[in-house]
């Protein structure tokens, strides 16, 4: 019923608008076409000026309303570069935006049709055109220069002391793997992925590097503050994307083609909770690449903490190898070691 009324009201609104429009056309013809044309011309020229002023106020108001809702200071070193680049760009484009929009609407208003003025025949001026080819080119050179400088800093090789964490996306969850004491992620092969055999990532158990790898799912990824981290990113089914808004980082997770990105978190979760005055604050991992019906809820979490807290957490975790082969776990030393391991066939 409510919908019906809305449709009815809209329909009536339409009808009234149309009748007024039609009437105004007739009235215009009756009053003399030239005269009414001049009047609408004046009204529209004035409205263009109003739009310019209103628009500029709107831009200011919008910024006042929304600037505090965006993320605040970046929580990684690369985030600082990216924000700096952002501010440089806002400054340069902001000036251009302001000047060109003002000129556009001011000219439109000022040079509205008038009997007193004749249009000025002005087909070209090579000097002017040269000037406004060269000035944008210089401005862009600055932007490209800064941009590429930061880009290579961000996408360059990760420092040697970086910790390595693997992150794997699948519809619609994130799974993590830590390399363990040897600091090497063991080999894996997608055909070994088998939830029933407790091998969610397809680790190859005959690679000794896999024996100390720690698998984490259903809880946040833990990172150490001020220590670079290199994420090794993969996907099982479709393309996902590891989006870390607070760190300003992002990289696609592509099935069949591992990608990497690195950054250094500079603020702990606790610090962020204090800064944002929000005791529930969490660094979030968002999927930024359309991946299916659950895309909008593909959420992961990251906890950034100091080294001691991290060490305590990682020590509480057991390598995956031992939960797949409990008999090889040193904690179960008395287990029967003669039983053949149900290790999957390895690929070389």
């Amino acid at each position: 019923m409510q919908t019906f009324f809305i449709v009815l009201i809209l329909g009536l609104g339409f009808l009234i608008t149309f009748q007024i429009a039609k009437a105004s056309e007739y009235v215009g013809i009756m009053r003399g076409e030239e005269k009414s044309k001049k009047q609408t011309n004046k009204i529209n020229a004035f409205l263009l000026l109003v739009f310019l002023i209103g628009g500029m106020i709107g831009v200011y108001y919008c910024n006042e309303r929304l600037k505090d809702k965006i993320l605040g200071a970046p929580a990684s070193d690369h985030g600082v570069y990216i924000d700096t680049m952002l501010y440089i760009t806002i400054a340069i484009t902001g000036v251009v935006f302001f000047i060109t929009q003002v000129i556009l609407f001011w000219f439109s208003f000022k040079y509205q049709e008038s009997d007193k003025r004749k249009a000025y025949y002005y087909p070209h001026n090579n000097k002017l055109e040269l000037i406004w080819t060269v000035i944008p080119a210089i401005a862009l050179t600055v932007l490209v220069g800064f941009g590429i400088f930061y880009w290579f800093k961000i996408t360059g090789e990760a420092p040697k002391n970086a910790m390595v964490v693997e992150i794997t996306g699948s519809q619609f969850k994130w799974e993590f793997r830590y390399p363990g004491k040897d600091k090497i992620l063991g080999k894996k092969y997608f055909k070994q992925i088998d939830d029933a055999a407790n091998n969610q990532l397809g680790q190859l158990w005959d690679d000794p590097a896999n024996h100390d790898d720690i698998y984490i799912t259903g809880e946040p990824m833990h990172l150490v503050v001020n220590r670079p981290v290199k994420l090794v990113i993969g996907a099982k089914d479709v393309i996902h994307d590891v989006g870390l808004a607070h760190f300003r980082m992002k990289m696609d997770a592509v099935p069949g083609t591992p990608t990497t990105m690195w950054f250094t978190p500079t603020k702990t979760t606790k610090q962020m909770r204090e800064e944002t005055n929000n005791p529930a604050f969490m660094f979030e991992i968002s999927c930024d690449q359309m991946c299916g019906r659950g895309h909008f809820g593909m959420r992961g979490e990251i906890i950034v903490e100091n080294q001691e807290e991290y060490d305590a957490w990682i020590l509480s975790k057991k390598p995956k190898y031992f939960s797949v082969f409990p008999d090889r776990d040193p904690a179960n030393q008395k287990a029967d070691t003669t039983k053949p391991a149900a290790a999957p066939v390895a690929r070389n």
Binding site: K22, F51, Y121, P123, V254, S286
Partner: protein, 602 residues
């Protein structure tokens, strides 16, 4: 039968009498005149009206998914009436939302702003403005429309299959779009999407080849390339872009069809979907993105260039001044067309692309800002010291320039890979491309429609409704898309239909509501325009002056309602460029007027 034989000799006679001149007096049945027409003007109108219908569908879809964004979780019982199990209990389900988003993008980008825009105006304007009786191949031209129509039918049918239409986004990235198991939208709907796209590409190739050959070969006497009006140059570069880049999308789509149905592994490798291990190895999902964006980026300019060309013409005519820097306008169109092919990977900065390659694409991408800046400054100078008449077309042209500035500048953010890391695939991207490509081109299209409607139908559109249409649309467009940039700066990803489970992204509830309400108002204003359009075809005020805007170009030298063949008698000869406005104290000098003895040079 007897009638036919009776008529025939008359036709033959009339041919003898008007030899080489009038082609407008063929007897035409309803079918050959309005349906399988080979008249470029009628084909243009067919493209336009089909485009308008698709625009209503695509626009309605955006209103529906905006409802979900503005009021997440709320029920709209009326939706269940129309969409059945997709909106059970009136709730917009994720599958439905993604289908709407995907169809909105596909329809608006391809059917409205490619076929509806360049299909309409290339067909209408090229023969009329270069001085030709019709396209180089009228039959191919007719086929071009009917392949487009067929593509539309296939796309429409995909909306009625049980599992719904494609819903992997308008870019249709595999593996999501390649794997039946990955979701409902990746089932038969995806096949239909690909088939529809293949038909669409055939259509646009036939159209494009025709436009190019007509412009190159069929110009009237005296119409040298540098005397062509700017819309023709823009449509020429558009056609070249389409002819060179659409085949690449075709290959991408066909390989995807193979991967979906024939077990090939072009795009697939190492995939475990829903616990099922697939045998495919060795393919690359990124390959598709290269093929897609090799079309996809030129596509942006396929959409934008015709609007730029028409805006140049309309601003010049209505400020009663020559377009400033004709050669620079032409050169910048050329530069944009070349660069359009060299920047596609800026859509792929975060796919794991080699960073060095990325930096090359940053440079090439930001280079586009130079010709774009030239165009903007030239438009501004065209307005300077003019004598501007604010017809609805002029207003839309001014609106185009404003939107092109706003959206172009945010492109400088996204084209810079460093900033793109943060903004990629966020609402910032949505805001950027809607302003610069979507709304701006739509403004160009509206400007074109208001300006050339008298030529199409011999009547005027109601201009009061036209002014209302313009003001609601420009204010609405800025209200919708300007604040959306802030959502992007906050890192909110695209295609999130409900942000309530997120801590970082749930601050914008009020904003989303506001945007939804404004988008409904703007959609209503477009419906009002559509009404105005169809009403005015039949009841609009009649055109009495064959040259109502006082313009120089050749289309206004035809009769008010030109028949097939456009000019009665000889095709006029051209003696000057199209922009002699305000020269030597004369308001305008048509292209057909010979250069006077005492005329000043420019």
């Amino acid at each position: 039968m007897s009638e036919a034989t009776h008529i025939h000799p008359e036709v033959a006679v009339s041919h003898d009498v008007h030899h080489g001149g009038d082609h407008g007096h063929h007897h035409q049945s309803f079918i050959t005149k309005y349906i399988f027409s080979t008249d470029h003007k009628m084909i243009g109108k067919q493209f336009l009206i089909t485009g308008i219908i698709w625009a209503i569908v695509g626009g309605l879809f955006s209103v529906l998914f905006r409802l979900q964004l503005g009021y997440p979780g709320q029920t709209f019982p009326i939706l269940e009436t129309f969409f059945g199990h997709y909106a059970e209990g009136g709730l917009i389900k994720p599958e439905f939302y993604y289908a709407l988003v995907t169809m909105h993008g596909t329809i608006l980008v391809f059917f409205v702003l490619t076929a509806g825009l360049s299909g309409t105006f290339a067909n209408l304007l090229i023969p009329l403005q270069v001085g030709a009786r019709d396209m180089a191949s009228p039959f191919l031209n007719m086929l071009s429309y009917w392949f487009f129509f067929l593509a539309g039918i296939v796309m429409l049918s995909s909306m009625f299959v049980q599992t719904g239409p494609a819903s992997g986004g308008w870019t249709m990235y595999p593996p999501l779009s390649a794997l039946h198991q990955a979701g409902d939208g990746s089932k038969i709907g995806a096949d239909l999407w690909l088939v529809s796209m293949a038909l669409f590409i055939v259509s646009s190739l036939m159209g494009g080849l025709n436009y190019i050959s007509t412009i190159l070969n069929m110009r009237t006497k005296g119409m040298s390339m540098t005397r062509l009006p700017l819309p023709i140059w823009a449509l020429f570069f558009t056609a070249v872009l389409g002819v060179l880049s659409f085949p690449v999308l075709l290959s991408g789509a066909i390989l995807l069809l193979f991967d979906r149905n024939l077990g090939t592994s072009f795009y697939l490798s190492d995939i475990v979907v829903n616990g099922e291990v697939l045998p495919n190895e060795g393919g690359s999902a990124i390959l598709y993105q290269h093929l897609f964006w090799f079309l996809g980026h030129p596509e942006v300019y396929i959409i934008l260039l015709p609007a730029m060309g028409m805006v140049s013409e309309i601003l010049s005519v209505n400020s009663r001044k020559p377009i400033f820097g004709y050669m620079a306008m032409l050169g910048s169109l050329f530069a944009i067309a070349i660069l359009a092919f060299l920047v596609w990977a800026h859509h792929m900065f975060v796919t794991g692309l080699n960073p060095f390659l990325g930096s090359v694409f940053v440079l090439l991408t930001l280079l586009i800002a130079v010709p774009s800046a030239i165009k903007v400054f030239n438009w501004l100078t065209t307005l300077w010291r003019g004598n501007i008449r604010f017809t609805p077309a002029t207003l839309f042209a001014i609106g185009f320039v404003s939107l092109f500035i706003s959206g172009g500048l945010t492109g400088i953010f996204l084209g810079n890979s460093t900033i793109d890391i943060h903004l990629h695939d966020t609402m910032f991207v949505v805001a950027h491309f809607h302003i610069v490509m979507g709304v701006a081109s739509m403004f160009g299209m509206h400007a074109g429609i208001y300006h050339w409607f008298p030529k199409m139908y011999g009547r005027y559109l109601n201009s009061t409704l036209g002014y209302l249409h313009f003001w609601v649309t420009i204010v609405g467009a800025y209200l919708i898309f300007w604040p959306m940039h802030y959502q992007g700066l906050a890192g909110i990803p695209r295609r999130y239909l409900d942000k309530s489970s997120w801590l970082s992204f749930n601050e914008f509830g009020d904003l989303d509501k506001m945007i939804t309400i404004v988008s409904i108002v703007v959609f209503a204003a477009q419906l009002m325009f559509v009404f105005n359009f169809f009403y005015s075809i039949f009841k609009g005020r009649k055109v009495t002056n064959p040259n109502p805007w006082g313009a120089n170009t050749l289309e206004w030298s035809t009769p008010i309602n030109p028949g097939h063949g456009n000019w009665e008698g000889e095709i006029p000869e051209v003696h000057r460029w199209a922009y002699d406005y305000g020269k030597d104290g004369r308001e305008f000098i048509p292209q057909t007027e010979p250069i006077g003895a005492n005329e000043s040079k420019h």
